[in-house]
């Protein structure tokens, strides 16, 4: 006689709860634009126009090369779980997304460009034993885009552009998962990549009068299908329940539509304003499919569409020296109840300053500093549970970041 002791089903589904937040969009692809608070759609007078507004390319005669990097050093902290106010700080990490642009003007009405940049990315890393370990430990996303661009003058004062965006990306998510009745937990790492995702961009630049320019720039969604592996370590007794093997997940990055106006008040002073619409509602859930054991985990993200308001100014101090400043407001797309420590987000204010210096007739160096301050965000009705069952991850998030960008341009 065979005795079955009890009917027993352990359901250990790794809650791959959340990966990305609004903060994972990177708009810093050139020190000049960054110094002006990113209000560059209606200016786009350097090779980074390939990102900001391809229609600006016909302003650049001959051949231009531009290479730069942006050092990004964010800080995240969480105080909670309410009513507790213990502070947890994410590990300090620094990232160096690189941008490279090359342009060539065939004739005064036709220009080509090739760009490389990282439109989305960033990462967070928390202590493996912190209070939110079942929500996020390490999260890292990197996307890269290579885009050929073409710009054409439809009229003397109207240029349009189009570009194809080829993208590749990698993602890493790790977190722990509690067991229903057993002591201990499992540690799961998901890694995935997508080597070919496609999107496009469109741009237009219109100059009704000499000192006024109006720009429009559009970036399409890019749908990534990440494939990779899940690796889980945990008690040997539960090995058969732990996801190990293939995993797939989808991510669609939002559309971006920017409209900008730039006006030259006096010959030396250029002021620019941008409104950038970000279609974050593309990101309504994160779903991870595991192949072994077969399981699906879906968690709602329900991002809201969002916008960024940007204001920038450039003043030509000396013939070869320009000083710049900017400010922007970036509306948080994440509903507070779904905010997750994988990448804390908040309404953000950015303050930037920078200089551009013409070293020789051919070489230009731009430098920029940007400070981003996320407003303090206290979550009181979190839908994110930090343990099994109903355990809302309520608390107070603080975010800030320092960015320094250097860009070197070479023109023929």
């Amino acid at each position: 006689m065979k005795v079955k002791f009890f009917a027993f089903i352990v359901s250990i589904i790794i809650v791959a709860s959340e990966t990305f937040a609004g903060g994972f969009q990177l708009n810093e692809h050139g020190a000049r634009a960054m110094a002006m608070g990113g209000a560059f759609t209606a200016i786009s007078n350097d090779p980074s126009a390939i990102y900001f507004n391809g229609a600006g390319l016909t302003q650049l005669s001959g051949i231009h090369l531009m290479l730069g990097t942006t050092m990004i050093a964010p800080t995240f902290s969480f105080r909670g779980v309410s009513p507790d106010i213990t502070e947890y700080d994410a590990a300090k990490q620094t990232f160096f997304p690189t941008h490279f642009f090359a342009t060539y003007r065939y004739d005064k009405d036709l220009a080509f460009g090739l760009g490389f940049f990282s439109p989305f990315g960033l990462a967070s890393k928390w202590d493996p034993n912190w209070v939110g370990k079942y929500l996020a430990i390490e999260t890292k996303l990197q996307t890269f885009v290579i885009t050929p661009e073409v710009a054409y003058n439809l009229m003397d004062n109207l240029t349009v552009s189009a570009g194809l965006e080829y993208s590749f990306a990698t993602v890493t998510i790790s977190q722990k998962t509690p067991f229903p009745v057993f002591a201990g937990d499992a540690f799961t790492t998901l890694t995935g990549k997508d080597n070919s995702a496609w999107g496009f961009n469109l741009g237009a630049l219109y100059k009704p009068v000499d000192d006024l320019s109006i720009g429009v720039s559009f970036h399409s969604q890019v749908k990534y299908n990440f494939t990779g592996t899940a690796t889980t370590t945990g008690p040997v007794q539960l090995a058969s329940q732990l996801p190990n093997g293939g995993a797939t997940a989808d991510l669609t990055t939002p559309i971006n539509l920017a409209v900008g106006v730039a006006y030259r008040f006096i010959p030396d002073l250029l002021v620019s304003f941008d409104f950038q619409y970000v279609g974050w509602s593309s990101y309504d859930s994160l779903t991870v499919d595991f192949s072994s054991p077969k399981s699906v985990k879906s968690s709602p993200r329900l991002y809201d569409n969002s916008y960024i308001l940007r204001l920038g100014a450039q003043y030509t101090l000396l013939q070869d020296l320009q000083v710049r400043a900017g400010i922007y407001y970036d509306k948080d797309p994440v509903k507070p109840e779904y905010l997750n420590p994988s990448l804390p987000d908040a309404n953000r204010l950015g303050f930037s300053v920078g200089v551009g210096y013409k070293i020789t007739n051919n070489i230009n160096l731009d430098a920029a500093y940007l400070f981003i301050r996320g407003s303090q965000l206290t979550v009181t009705d979190s839908q994110e549970n930090y343990a099994q069952g109903i355990s809302p991850f309520n608390g107070t998030y603080n975010t800030a970041a320092n960015l320094v960008s250097l860009t070197l341009s070479y023109g023929l």
Binding site: M1, V3, A7, V181, A325, R373, Q376, A387, I390, N398
Partner: protein, 487 residues
């Protein structure tokens, strides 16, 4: 125009100075107050047995003691609660899960022979947690050491209980030490062992619970005396009653398994009317267990009985060897099929028959009536743990209950409330109990102590770290796994 530029820069710099640091306002930490309403837990003492001590999975160890219901209450109000911590794996014999075959639903339990060491033995004052595993009602007032506790004095084996030395440390009885702390608040949960020792041994050893009344020593007079003593402390008091045995997995797990797995039709063909067991006090068995009586709880098999369920029908004396019988009891013939023949019957110690269940239930009902009326008379709050567990048990077959979104039932292992010994609560089970105490404190004394979020309490069934081969998948407890049980 330079003016405009400098104006812009001035505005910009002002803004940067004003905003240009991380926005981080101070938050106010919650003020924990041991005083709430008329309840004052400034000097809080918990008196009781293993259920108060934080005993779990067959041992007393720090990682469970930290979740004793008293310590969990103390954390909710921010009061001191010193405990006789013993580092993991504790006092020895901790039950751990050796292998688990989830597809087959089978488990192998191992007991860890290693012990930890006392971590808090130099604490000068008496402990706030004065729960002593194995303590009986008698012991609270009178036992001062391992050799003066009831089990050493009055049981047939005169077994000393070293837990008394570990916790009392020669500073007097549980009551005397509680008194020395001048408590402002006391929880009392005692008397379980006065009936559980009888019940867990299948009504075998001891052969009767502490009598309700009459005789030289009885529950009525002893609890009255204890209640008078506790009342004399002048503290606010909450007392808990005794849970029924038919709501704990030690008694509810094995009977239904045997009922489902026994080939009853084949037994009939062999001429056996069912499983033959020893009724209370019998040697040659005359009891007959059938599928219905085991499924419905008219007969209750104890958890250790699972080791013998697979031996039914075999000519074996395994039970007598496991229990170190020097010789077979006269009348027993182990060449007969085990559990199917009156001369090799299912042992009394592994089953509670109808009369033993009645004895247990009547005794618990009487105890609880005594506890309830004394609590009433003395103005103590009463935690009806018995009613609480029974209400959970009633929902076992309709999906269980939810606390903070986590599903629980009284089922063994999967239920989440009871640990591997089938009697003592898990960390989460202790949190659930603590909340029942808090509810009574709040209602009885007009307090406002927040309930514990059970979802945030980690699971506590231990998966043995040692890597075991899965060669033995039969349900099995190592011999001796249950020898260390104290309540």
């Amino acid at each position: 125009m330079k003016k405009i530029m400098s104006l812009i820069f001035t505005v910009f710099l002002t803004v940067v100075v004003f905003w240009g640091c991380q926005d981080k306002t101070n938050l106010t930490a919650p003020v924990l107050n041991p005083k709430s309403g008329n309840a004052d837990l400034t000097r809080f003492v918990a008196i009781g047995n293993s259920l108060t001590a934080g005993w779990q999975n067959g041992a007393l160890y720090a990682s469970s003691q930290n979740y004793s219901f008293g310590n969990q209450i103390a954390k909710q109000v921010g009061t001191t609660f010193e405990q006789p911590l013993v580092s993991d794996p504790g006092t020895g014999g901790r039950m751990e899960i050796k292998t688990l075959d989830i597809a087959k639903g089978e488990i192998d339990i191992y007991y860890d022979p290693k012990t930890g060491s006392p971590e808090n033995s130099t604490y000068a004052k008496p402990y706030n947690n004065l729960g002593i595993p194995g303590a009986l009602l008698y012991d609270v007032l009178y036992a001062t050491s391992s050799t003066t506790c009831a089990s050493a004095l009055f049981s047939s084996s005169h077994t000393p209980n070293p837990m008394f030395d570990l916790i009392l440390r020669g500073q007097g009885s549980q009551f005397a030490q509680a008194k020395a702390l001048h408590p402002t608040f006391v929880t009392l949960w005692i008397g379980n062992n006065d009936v559980l020792g009888f019940a867990t041994s299948g009504g075998f050893s001891p052969s009767a619970p502490t009598p309700v009344s009459g005789g030289l020593y009885n529950f009525q007079s002893a609890f009255t005396q204890l209640a008078d003593s506790i009342a004399s402390l002048g503290a606010k008091v909450v007392v808990a009653n005794i849970p029924d045995v038919d709501a704990i997995p030690y008694f509810t797990t094995v009977g239904p398994v045997v009922a489902m797995e026994t080939p009853w039709g084949a037994l009939k063909l062999l001429g056996a009317p069912g499983i033959i067991y020893q009724k209370h006090g019998e040697i040659v068995g005359s009891g007959v267990a059938d599928s219905l009586s085991l499924l419905t709880g008219q007969l209750l098999m104890t958890l250790p009985a699972i080791n013998y369920a697979t031996l039914i029908g075999k000519p074996t004396g395994q039970y007598y060897r496991d229990n170190n019988y020097p010789a077979l009891p006269p009348g027993i013939d182990t060449t007969k099929p085990f559990g199917l023949h009156p001369q090799n019957p299912w042992p009394d110690a592994l089953i509670l028959d109808a009369s033993e269940i009645a004895t247990t239930e009547n005794t618990i009902a009487s105890y609880n009536s005594i506890i309830s009326s004394l609590a009433n008379a003395k103005g103590f709050g009463l935690v009806d743990i018995n009613g609480f567990f029974n209400s959970i048990r009633q929902k076992d077959f309709t999906g269980g209950v939810y606390f903070n979104g986590v599903n629980f039932s009284t089922a063994y292992i999967t239920g989440g409330i009871f640990g591997l010994d089938g009697i003592h609560p898990t960390n989460q089970g202790q949190a659930i109990e603590a909340n029942e105490f808090i509810k009574v404190i709040n209602s009885k004394f007009g307090a406002n102590i927040p309930l514990i979020n059970v979802a945030t309490i980690p699971g506590s069934l231990i998966l043995a770290k040692k890597a075991f081969l899965k060669e033995k998948l039969m349900p099995h407890f190592e011999p001796g796994s249950f020898k260390h049980l104290l309540y």
